[in-house]
């Protein structure tokens, strides 16, 4: 764009036959540079997107710093294989799984279950063949996924805040057994 196009020299007959070609650009039909795309729909990344990214990064940075000034990362007694805490809990994002272990055998709840969830997530775009992205056309997908997310949130919360010694049900006001 910045380079001024010079008028090409008048070419002789021999030069024209020996002319070599360079690939300047390959524009694919589905590329974002498609010419049919209305231009008024788009804005320059500098400054419009970059300013949003800058401020979201700044807000996160400030949040993390304030959180770190206010709350210390937990550190308990040195590791001791002879003293098992009761309850012994996994990291919070696995507490849903630990809650499931309370109801199902380890192979089902601990390995096959999460494995299937991961595989199901990975193949989702190939299973959900509905081409529409409109909410109204995707009722089954949205309801199924929402139910799954709620189920996962509930068992994670249950495992985090409602389970105490011996994995027995404990209300949060009776005692918190939760480490981050």
């Amino acid at each position: 764009m910045s380079i001024e196009q010079k008028e090409p020299e008048v070419q002789t007959q021999t030069a024209a036959t020996q002319r070599r070609y360079r690939t300047l650009a390959v524009v694919r039909q589905e590329a974002i540079t498609r010419i049919e795309k209305p231009l008024e729909d788009s804005v320059f990344v500098w400054p419009h997107l970059l300013v949003r990214e800058f401020f979201s990064a700044t807000i996160v940075m400030v949040m993390v710093t304030l959180l770190s000034i206010a709350i210390n990362a937990p550190l308990r007694a040195p590791a001791n294989v002879n003293v098992t805490p009761n309850p012994a809990k996994a990291p919070w994002y696995f507490l849903g799984l630990q809650e499931l272990l309370h109801y199902f055998p380890p192979t089902t709840a601990g390995v096959i279950g999460p494995g299937l969830v991961l595989v199901a997530l990975a193949v989702l775009p190939y299973v959900d063949r509905n081409p529409s992205r409109a909410y109204a056309d995707r009722k089954i997908a949205i309801v199924t996924f929402t139910m799954f997310v709620i189920f996962w949130a509930v068992i994670t919360l249950a495992g985090s805040f409602f389970r105490g010694p011996g994995w027995l049900w404990v209300w949060p006001w009776q005692g918190l057994y939760f480490d981050l």
Binding site: E30, F94, V111, A134, Y135
Partner: protein, 268 residues
């Protein structure tokens, strides 16, 4: 500022600097306040060229993406920087690891702050990656042509969880060892592999020194490299698959009912 007489010393110095050969060898465009320079800055800067020159106004809205993918990436960068700092003071040995943490928290300048930041940023990253995934699902942004980028994203989600999980063991306190014991005790129940899976993960019969070094190496090298590789593919594919998906279009029935709405965000 049109006449030279009105120019302050700062203006003159700025102009000299911007016109100097050193400056012009680094920045091959003027200040990005014209469409040409706004394009050149995006194409000529290695960090900015992850982005296109222009984006869809709808897809760029904060209330559309909630910046969740970008925040996840930013937290990854923050974790890398704080993590390298922590590596200066941490030895993955069951004898001294715990002491390293207490010394770091009490005797090292900003040690406690940086450790806290690493811990909280790690938890926040698990949250932001999860929310990003949920957001992408509801917008149907995993649909063609973005199917494969969703799969890469699932891989990144998995790597994020295991980055957090491996980091959990390193302080070698009661939380660490028992959380990892509970987690790894599931490995023997893996169909077909069974105890082999446990031995590969833990490096022995129980969580001990071989586990610590395994988790440490995975935490500081293997998984960050895997994440970086997957992120490179993930970001590249966003561009190659036509940019952000943008808000879902109205349903077919709404269109047929004659609801006049501009077809923004429709790429095909």
């Amino acid at each position: 500022m049109s006449s030279t007489a009105n120019k302050s010393l700062l203006d003159v110095a700025t102009q000299k600097l911007v016109e100097s050969q050193v400056w012009r060898s680094i920045f091959r465009h003027g200040y990005p306040d014209t469409p040409l320079n706004q394009s050149l800055v995006m194409m000529g800067n290695v960090f900015l060229h992850l982005h296109p020159v222009k984006v869809s106004r709808q897809a760029m809205k904060v209330t559309y993406s909630w910046c969740l993918g970008g925040i996840s990436f930013f937290l990854f960068l923050l974790l890398t920087v704080t993590g390298v700092f922590l590596m200066f003071y941490y030895i993955p040995s069951t004898d001294v690891a715990y002491q390293n943490i207490t010394q770091l928290s009490s005797a090292v300048s900003f040690g406690n702050l940086v450790r806290n930041m690493h811990r909280w940023a790690a938890h926040l990253m698990v949250v932001s990656v999860t929310l990003h995934m949920i957001r992408v699902f509801y917008h149907g942004a995993y649909k063609p042509p973005r199917e494969f980028n969703w799969v890469v994203g699932v891989g990144l989600f998995f790597v994020t969880l295991f980055l957090s999980f491996t980091g959990y063991l390193l302080p070698w306190d009661q939380i660490a060892i028992w959380a990892i014991t509970v987690g790894t005790n599931l490995a023997p129940y893996t169909p077909l592999l069974g105890d082999t899976a446990y031995k590969i993960l833990v490096g022995g019969g129980a969580v001990a020194q071989p586990t610590l070094i395994r988790f440490y190496v995975a935490h500081v090298i293997l998984l960050p490299l895997a994440a970086a590789l997957l992120m490179a593919v993930h970001f590249w594919r966003i561009r190659k698959d036509g940019g952000e998906a943008g808000p879902p279009p109205p349903a077919r029935r709404e269109l047929e009912a004659g609801v006049e709405r501009p077809m923004v965000g429709v790429t095909r």
